[in-house]
């Protein structure tokens, strides 16, 4: 299974990005988690450019197309989603391979509910399939944990391993058309 991990923060010391790197490190050999590195290069969404897709957007599209599932981790800024994650999603609204893509929505801050709810609303509107069993909340914000400590922590590295297994199961069921996700198809 190929999982594309997308962080909604460009900050070098972002906890959300660290959480995604942790996911990549705890993943078993049959799950390849790669982190999308082109977020900062995406231009601001402009529907007028959709007829001549900018190269940074084409790179995102290519990675989405190859991925069996997505893992999204994004902070909350001023009770909202980050402009960075919404901008990436705006470029995916009319990208057909995004439809019915299984997505795990991680939340690194249990008290941040506005951005999590808004992100889920947008993903549902875009016909993504949110995999609830893989969408975990981890109390990272303020924990002061190093990336190495996250990896070793049962509440983080361990929980992430379980989340990835749930995502894997969902993708298999989704592909075989037997999963609950399939019921969402028209």
């Amino acid at each position: 299974m190929r999982v594309l991990a997308i962080s909604g923060s460009l900050r070098a010391a972002s906890l959300n990005s660290a959480l995604l790197r942790t996911a990549a490190r705890v993943a078993p050999p049959d799950i390849v988690v790669s982190i999308f590195g082109g977020m900062r290069d995406l231009p601001l969404f402009n529907p007028d450019l959709e007829s001549q897709i900018p190269s940074a957007v084409a790179a995102l599209h290519g990675e989405i197309n190859l991925a069996d599932a997505l893992l999204i981790a994004s902070p909350e800024y001023a009770h909202g989603v980050t402009g960075t994650i919404k901008n990436a999603l705006d470029w995916l609204v009319s990208y057909e391979p995004f439809v019915y893509k299984p997505v795990a929505v991680l939340n690194a801050s249990p008290r941040a509910r506005h951005a999590d709810a808004a992100l889920r609303e947008t993903l549902k509107t875009m016909s993504a399939v949110i995999v609830e069993e893989a969408s975990i909340t981890v109390p990272l914000l303020g924990s002061g944990l190093s990336e190495e400590a996250m990896l070793q922590s049962p509440a983080i590295g361990g929980a992430m391993k379980t989340a990835l297994a749930a995502l894997y199961t969902s993708v298999i069921l989704h592909k075989s058309g037997q999963g609950p996700s399939f019921l969402l198809l028209p």
Copy 2:
């Protein structure tokens, strides 16, 4: 009064941008509405860059600082705010002159409630003062109106004129410390 108008859409034929141009055209001589032209140049927000503000962000800051009030019009994309408007706001979260700024939030699509609510929640969190009497909803989406027709329409050009007058009153009261906005100050 100087009003800075900000559109959350980069589309050339954007109805929200047309609505802001209409505001600029119906404004009486004592209200100067200027449209911020640098939205597309703003880089994606990165807190790591705040110590060395990019020039496009400095341009936004300068305009915000000079403005007595803001006029925001932004479409809804996939039941959420546009990445473009949220990105601009992300750059203003820690910009002190934004605090207590009177803001009118326009809505060009009465059925689009998610983005309007999310935008207001973010603005309130950033301690902007939303001027309700100036925050009008106009049924532009699907109206097929030309910009000239908007200008002549009592429901659009006329309503916008009334909204600007309400914004003006609010700014005067705000400055004199007698308005309801002032009660929000600590």
